[in-house]
């Protein structure tokens, strides 16, 4: 044994004191910072990574009682998974939405997964079938099939649950973000309006932000996005629908089902959607081409159309419970759940 270890015994060390002081200082620092963040209105949140997504994706397989939520931010913020779980106790709720990414690759992945025969609720809009958006979630799906391991997924799941217990572990309150924000604005950041839960679903508290500029930002951003590419022609739309239809048929053939949900957008946003992807030329054509498809459009339902959308396309957390309850009742009407 090296001399530095053997000589320990002859020295007076205060390691007990060190650990006691460390624990005290750590608890004091974390306690103070947590209460500061709490008083400022911060909520805990986590970051969705490929391992955490893979953990959820694993739950989708081998379970005929799975209800899989597929899409991007609208379904992530729109459907309250707590409500789904409490209302549909015999179902396994599996959120697979990825913020900012259209889900064609995920529906393709679910179709290719021989073990999957659950119910898919897919947030749908015509733009997501544009060929350039097809691979948006491919990276997550490839990671799941090729690289993920049970250990890494479990570690991500565990980490997400522990991080969600503490506000100071918010992904936007990292050292780098704090230093840069503080030096640029000379103040502490304001609370963030979106919180992501450990199951990767999310909630938006729009009372924390000035909604008008945010709404304008989203509208402008959507306009730029629509103008950036030419809109697909009818043939492309039909051929893309054919692809989607095949994925849906494959899932159905195994006993599963897919429901396309057109989430609400407010009037200005809807006008923009109608300018670039008119319902008559896209959604209605889809229903005519694939008559067996299960689809819900917010414009066809008075309740869905009545929700307030603070930023023009996402629901506030105050409304998600009633929105989710209404979706559940619609699914029951369609006899997709009991």
């Amino acid at each position: 044994m090296p001399s530095f270890i053997s000589s320990f015994n002859s020295k007076i060390n205060n390691w007990w004191l060190t650990w006691l002081l460390s624990a005290w200082l750590l608890l004091l620092s974390i306690g103070w910072y947590e209460s500061l963040l709490s008083s400022k209105g911060f909520m805990p949140s986590i970051e969705v990574n490929q391992d955490l997504w893979s953990w959820n994706r694993r739950q989708a397989g081998d379970q005929s009682n799975a209800i899989v939520l597929v899409g991007a931010s609208r379904i992530q913020l729109g459907l309250d998974t707590k409500v789904l779980r409490s209302e549909l106790v015999d179902k396994e709720i599996v959120p697979l939405a990825i913020n900012g990414q259209y889900p064609m690759a995920t529906i393709k992945g679910l179709a290719a997964d021989e073990t999957f025969n659950g119910l898919v609720l897919m947030s749908f809009m015509a733009q997501m079938l544009e060929p350039q958006y097809e691979e948006m979630q491919a990276e997550y799906n490839q990671y799941y099939t090729q690289k993920s391991s049970w250990y890494r997924s479990f570690d991500a799941y565990l980490t997400a649950h522990i991080k969600f217990q503490f506000r100071f572990l918010h992904p936007l309150l990292g050292l780098n973000d704090l230093v840069n924000y503080f030096s640029a604005k000379k103040k502490f950041p304001d609370p963030f309006y979106v919180s992501i839960y450990p199951d990767t679903s999310a909630a938006g508290d729009y009372s924390l932000v000035d909604v008008e500029p945010l709404k304008q930002y989203f509208i402008d951003d959507k306009k730029i996005n629509y103008q950036a590419f030419s809109i697909m022609d009818k043939d492309t739309w039909l051929s893309q629908l054919d692809k989607l239809s095949k994925y849906i048929q494959t899932i159905r053939a195994r006993g599963g089902e897919v429901v396309l949900l057109r989430f609400p957008t407010d009037d200005i946003h809807w006008l923009l959607d109608e300018t670039y992807y008119p319902r008559a030329e896209f959604w209605d054509v889809m229903l005519d081409t694939i008559p067996q498809i299960k689809a819900i459009h917010f414009k066809d339902d008075e309740v869905l159309n009545s929700f307030n959308l603070p930023d023009s396309s996402h629901l506030d957390q105050a409304d998600t419970k009633s929105f989710t309850m209404h979706i559940i009742s619609m699914l029951k009407q369609l006899q997709l759940i009991e």
């Binding site: 530095f4 391991s149 250990y151 565990l158």
Partner: protein, 477 residues
Amino acid sequence: MLFNSLTFLLFFFWVIVVHYSPLKWSFKKGHLLLASYAFYAAWNPPFVLLLWLSTLVDWQVAKKIDQQHQPQKRKHWLWLSLSINLGMLVVFKYAEFLLVNFQLLLAYLGVNVTFADPGLILPMGISFFTFQTLSYTLDVYFKRLKPWHGFLDYALFVGFFPQLVAGPIVRAKSFLPQLIKQSRININQFSIGLTFFIIGLFQKMVMADSFFAPIVDQVFAQHESIDTASSWLGSLFFSAQIFCDFSGYSLCAIGLAMCLGFVLPINFRSPFAAIGFSDLWRRWHISLSSWLRDYLYIPLGGNRNGDFNRYRNLMITMLLGGLWHGAAWTFVIWGALHGSYLVIEQLIKQSRLGQYIKPNAGINLCLGLLTFFAVMLAFVVFRSENISQAWDIISALFVFGDSSNKHAPVIEQNAWLYLVCTAFILMMWSQWFMRNRNLSEVLDRTHAAVRALLITGALLLIMLSTGNSNAFIYFQF
């Protein structure tokens, strides 16, 4: 399993509980072995088979070598071990590299053949555990060691989880005797081990991943339009990143082993405070450099047989040492640069200039900075994906007021950059401060309250940096 993961903390807690339970030592060793295999299998379960293969082969071969008295037969058994261990390395690590270069050679000779990409996954830590098992066989072959009596002890020596995937590369004669009976450690030893682990995590998660890596990645990604200042920052910070990453891992491994009552060899001793390249290699990745010295450089002839052979042996050792790090020409060049540095240093030491220089604090500092600068240049090649990228970065380092500075700065000057620069300066200062000191002794002599402040600060910064964490760089080697 990654040290910087919550699952590992749970795993280690379980290991500690069983290790200090009133069970028999033989049971505890068996448990440690199983835990080590679980640790490795967490990454990719089938690859445990490779670890078992390497373990079994060298266990048997070492016994056979010891039983044989005819040198020729001993040599045959040694070749078997070398073939299997190095064969695994060639297949999993170098197959693609060899195929691509063979294809290029054939194309150069006018034969156009395309080989399919073998698409093999590199088993984590294969370079480390194969070198560790080989050292056992080689020690038995060179009659420095008798084969160990217990297979489970030997298997634990190969698979001991703290050092399994990224070293330090442990020698059988220093580790196996520690398995004879359980070391009784006290609170001080356990605390030093735990503090090592925390410092190692701090080096990895805060310094390497949070401070240095994002800037380095940005610089190397934009190498084609890099400006001089950014090139310097990227090069300096990569040196710091790789040190903090690898030294952090080693310190975690040593600390964890210490918590379990085992002593692993120190792997880094303030390498950026080295004065000269011989000194550097006594401070950087010590367990590998001593392995290469004992099992490659000395068997090649070492310092014997004249200057030319000595320099040749140095170059061969460093080239192979470079290749050990990865299957790419950039690693070979990195090794060649270090070989050249060592040869040039030897030449200078033997020249009149070398005899004229009388070391003092000022000269030592200048030589230290010169050494660090040369090491940094070599690290630029090490980090680059190809030679062209390395050239872009290195040429930008030396282009003052010319085309390089016409580019907009890649690295933005902001508060974060100043913080990272401060961290870099503190890291360099700590290397000089610790140059002739031992971390355990420094910790031992530090006031309890100061230690508590440092530990708390490190833990808080680790927690605030958790979002940026990556796998350890040396896992890929």
